[in-house]
Symmetry: D2
Subunit: 451 residues, 4 copies
């Protein structure tokens, strides 16, 4: 092959290597996303640093990263050792240098992402290969171990089951602080929080849990005030920011907390914020030690699957790609609001006012008989509408002995039936159009008694 | 295309569909393993039943199984929704019929595997997408919630960190029952267990934890007697069967327990028993309710990754494939013993007698100065020997305030230096040969002071 | 799994199966492109109909579609038997029903594409798994076998080597008909064609070869007039439509031919028209027999690779996708013209007028010394500009004894130096911007003697 | 990550890079096969040297290696440019340095393979991305162009269609030299070859074509004597060694030719010798110029698919892997002979003696009525036996005007019905067992008139 042509190819290779070197050195998400083959080359390179992929190796242990099914090997890019060591999720594995590097790097890239979407003062970020609920539970157990006398958790009511279950699983006692209605909107009952702290005694409280992203008309919690209480009374504070990284409004609330109050951990899911499969949880905070304490409480090695999915997704998107997703989402939220308004007007309903919820919207269903509400939900579902939720008043639900009035509405006193819909990242305009169209038809059908 | 040829192709297709139908209906591992493309077709078929893969769909929720990076999509076979629902790991997901079927089926196939390797009375089996340590912790939390006054765990000492950590992470108090030496072998101190139960009171004990598979010269615990104590005193009993499914000797011990005693849960890892990547845990038991209770305590949705890896591995192996692996392992254990004996004799050392350990072997290093022991370990490691462990007496280790004398040797009184090696499934003859060769050379080098 | 959820999944499956059934039945490109996993499922289904993928099979021949390397198996989707039989490229293979169906279907979809882009009267289309040059040669050999006394080919000069070589490889004698200059444009010398036919005698001529798509300032040949000559004198006529499917202007010329004249075969490449890897050739015609004769002249079985690439590409694009590509290309051609004009003006050069070339453009380089022309080309190449060609006058080239004056310019009398650039499908706006930018800088550098 | 662990990973990486460097430098098949991920890393590295995979590139040509469908891109490992240039299959492509290197390297590895299996004096080897028939045709056209007056091909009859068709496709005239029967075996009629040369005149003959591997009871041609005739009379000589690389007996015959006679080209298929998909052809010779002449006669660029399949297969197998395949095949041939003998004895038939055929065997079917013979064949086929051929006497076939008596038996005078079966590389013992079992049952069924 002629030297001239070869040189051009070698130059191109150097450029690519530089791009990758920069990611490894700067530990930042690249400006522009990488091509698929570039991502694969980097991942393969890392995998080849794990001992199970060495050319010569003599494994006489019980855990040698062996993979017997080729399809499994392939889909795991030859990674077999998982991440972490028995005592610490963030520790490196001697047998798995490549996995360890990828894991560390992914956590750095996630910190970069968190800062990039507005939480500039975040100090450390860690991916947990478990559901957010389980990660919240592990955090509660960690706080509890440091506050041996405490066993109460103050919880701003949000009707999402796993968020409540995690308190029970940790064998702690929840105090449910119901939301208060301000106009249509359901807001944090800050007074009741303060009251409970005084009544129960701060030393008896393991943690305060607040939530940002949620279904309308519930608002993002008043995390700033709760953060102040946390600081004043020296009670740990976890923010459940489930899918909040995608909204600058929500990330701004979190960033504000730090200025005057205290937040120990902010917990969110990988799938909902990064559009990858369910299974991981991003935890960040403003104090390295708190994160490290939770990581050290993870007993055993963990799957690398979530790391791999997140790592590849971040490299694929680049800063540009994620920023674009976030912007599109914001525009689609406005679009959904407009269309939702139209269909509401047509059916003599209205959109509930909930300014502090930038992702979800709710439309009343007051002109429909209570007996028809479930039917609306199931008719939409069989028409391939997913994610819309119909809330009928007076549903009662008991979870492990704790009773919730008006389950689904985040508030004991709700008496308005409604349907919610959200514009999250990854939604498309045609999905919204389809939803509005199906909703309109279903409501008409119900009214005409034809269903 | 001529009808004749087409018919033959259609017949072949029917055969394949029958094979798959049988797996779905009988819920048993197929006799012979499936071809890669057959596995892929089944997995793809299941994936196409999840709503994120529907042709027309209108997602207006925050969790719609969207995957943005094609590489991630591909490696997850288009599965995005994970498994379980917020309240229960074993529950089906409305949006993810295919995932739900695969999950249920994988659990049935695992039960079939457990029964096939000798634990015929197993009633229910569940794959947890977490490390064994974390799953053990979740089990302890579950038992604790049912025994509110108890907070002690009786633990037969085994020097494997995550198994101990899980007790601490659950905020429970371990009572460490040291092993006793019988000849070379370290056996369960059954008397001390009985003694502690009497002293502490059964109602104050959350659980007994015993271990089967371990490093020589520790023996498999006397699980049968511990199971009797569990039954007599009505204390839950977890067997940590880490990599024990691969040995008929160990599975036989477990099966025996049931006849006269009680075992609540048997916990083991997917990677070590099934040769797939780290990250999952197989839990089985003899009482459906116990398993269901733990599953219902998992807060949140979980990753499908472990399910997918295990499902594909089981289909790939078939009963034949797994049986072959188990037989080969048994033969290689005898081979390792023979070769290990030879190298021991050559260096005036001996193999420690440990009849109740069918996987791991230990060779003394008594002719070596204590100061050289670490060097042996690290020289082996740089020569690509992994999994061999050099145990020097008098190592002390403190885990969260608990002190262990002679850490690594499972016994406070050990005074013999030794090295362990194991013949686990997946090991090859050439790995054993390589290990013996490197070991011989390293010992010679140390003796000749050349290192 | 609940019946309700299962039904929705089954409905979705039926929808997908319907979509595929329609493709198989109607043999038309789907309106909208298929998702990757849908394409894979269809391809896998077809592969499973080939005997090498049957569950039980007893091969005792020398050609059983065995594939030993898993990576090769995977990338070929388990297809191993190729297409065609020893005597006929279009024949079905008894051992490979799936391959045969895919092959037939691909040819039907290609015919649909050809009609869709404007050649409505096309009757049959066949994919040849060889370069266009080789396929043209095979066509010439076929015509020759039917005209035993003839061995001359009349060839409208186009300076693209393989198009000329194919005549020589077939052991035939080319008569080169030079283009004539009309304004800037190089057009077909129709008179000379007629003259040569009369001089040489139609019975001595194997074929007329004309070309549509080419580098400016050569125009698309006057295929309509040549088609008339072909009909009048009963001489076969091949149109080399190399990358002409992407332009409605060119396809229109071809469609017109049929009305008053004769075209036997139209030959074009798969890579340039369909954006898939190099290697295949699309042949279509207006008379089934002619195509079949060439297919029957292919000696031996052929690779399925090209079929697979084309099949998947057509399903991926759908009619919508291809139409979009064609429209974008047209717009980018206008964009290139505008930008090219600007840079020409800046450097006191001009765009050569060539109305009958809808893809390629040429800019003069008259203000540059002849000695600098090669440098311009190589400087652009090292700056990652590819596809631009600098033509210097007075280049002489000899191919197997045939001498070409002004090689590269399609005309013996050209005395203008120029550079060409094309807007083909798949080009992006940013590529054009990059080219213009680099061109401008290179020209400046040359002028400033800095290179 | 600790420096110690990192160093071990870096060492492992160096080892792997050395392995690859050696392949690139020595241009020999590696002793041991590479792991899948090692093959992929090398292939990806090469692909990244092609201009279509450069980070920045400005393509303004019509052929820029663009691939629009991700599945196609993936399966082609991002290679898009094909191999060769318009004038020469072996030439490098400026835009595709990686493809060019892979192509050159594959040809070197193939030469190494050819020498390794016994043809030590082979000088040059080239992979043609076409069927063997088409490659033979291209070779004939090349010889013809150098012997303008000749147009006869002397062909030792073998009843395999594409081998005969290639002469006709090249518009040449075949002289069919029937085989002669020696015992059961059909051997080369060397006398008639000599006679025809004298009668027709050597200068009128384009080429002699002989065949090695074939169906019993035809023997490998007496290539040594034909090679002497070729040398004496200065007539080109092509050996059709279709699937002969897998037999040392056959390669030995070819190697012997060179000592006293002349062979110009030896042509064989990739799929049958290397167990990869149909589509390629290996051409080697003892004189570089002859191979180059044919390569230069290929008009146009060609697909890289065959190169990729062959390259990966050779790296996967290594010398060890191929040698093992060849040995296993030899053993299975003996096994087939034994079992075939048994079934023949049982049905009062016998194996035809054909010592010079090391791959195929034939068993008489003399006790069956002629009317039942086709039924035997089709019953076997519907029972998934493929590759076995039933030959009934007195079949007549006409190919393009040439008449063959007893088509299928390679000889005009055959009057024995028989069935052939072969033991080729890749066959398994269980396939042979299945075949023998099905054959036995079919013959019984026919005899019992039950079919």
């Amino acid at each position: 092959v002629s030297a001239n042509y070869l040189n051009i190819a070698i130059d191109a290779r150097k450029q690519r290597e530089n791009k990758i070197k920069q990611i490894l050195e700067k530990r930042k998400i690249p400006e522009t996303g990488l091509e698929n083959h570039e991502i694969e080359m980097l991942v393969n390179e890392l995998a080849s640093m794990d001992s199970n992929n060495f050319g010569s190796k003599y494994g006489v242990g019980e855990r040698e990263g062996r993979i017997i099914c080729d399809l499994v090997k392939k889909r795991n890019f030859n990674f077999g050792h998982g991440i972490g060591r028995s005592g610490d999720l963030a520790e490196n594995q001697p047998k798995a240098t490549g996995s360890s590097i990828m894991n560390k790097l992914t956590n750095e890239l996630l910190l970069d992402l968190v800062q990039m979407v507005g939480i500039r003062s975040a100090k450390k970020c860690l991916l947990f290969p478990m559901a957010t609920g389980m990660t919240m539970m592990l955090s509660l157990l960690t706080f509890k171990s440091q506050r041996p006398d405490a066993n109460i958790v103050l919880w701003s009511r949000i009707d999402q089951k796993s968020c409540f279950k995690c308190i029970l699983t940790a064998n702690l006692h929840p105090i449910i602080i119901d939301s208060i209605k301000v106009g249509d909107e359901l807001q944090t009952n800050v007074k009741e929080f303060e009251n409970q702290i005084n009544v129960l005694g701060p030393e008896n409280i393991v943690c305060i849990i607040s939530t940002t992203s949620c279904f309308a008309p519930r608002a993002c919690d008043d995390v700033e005030t709760l953060a102040k209480l946390s600081k004043t009374f020296n009670i740990p504070h976890i923010i459940n920011n489930a899918y909040g990284l995608q909204s600058f409004y929500l990330t701004h609330q979190i960033e504000q907390c730090q200025k005057t109050g205290n937040v120990d951990l902010v917990i969110q899911s990988t799938d909902k914020n990064l559009l990858c499969p369910v299974g991981g949880c991003i935890v960040f905070g403003f104090n390295e030690k708190v994160i490290n304490d939770v990581a050290k409480n993870y007993a055993g090695r963990a799957s690398l699957s979530q790391t791999l999915d997140v790592f590849m997704t971040l490299l694929h998107l680049g800063r540009e790609g994620y920023t674009k997703l976030v912007k599109e989402r914001k525009n689609l939220f406005e679009y959904l609001k407009e269309k939702f308004n139209d269909v509401a007007a047509k059916h003599n309903e209205r959109i509930l006012q909930s300014q502090k919820n930038p992702i979800s919207l709710a439309m009343t269903l007051e002109s429909f008989d209570d007996s028809k509400l479930t039917m609306i939900g199931s008719m939409l579902f069989t028409r391939c509408v997913s994610g819309a939720r119909v809330i009928a008043p007076n549903e009662k639900k008991t979870i492990d002995g704790y009773e919730f009035l008006n389950w689904g509405s985040h508030n004991s006193n709700n008496n308005i039936p409604y349907i919610t819909a959200a514009a999250s990242i990854g939604t498309t305009k045609s999905e919204i159009d389809g939803f509005i169209d199906k909703l309109d038809k279903v409501l008409l059908k119900i009214k005409n008694n034809e269903s």
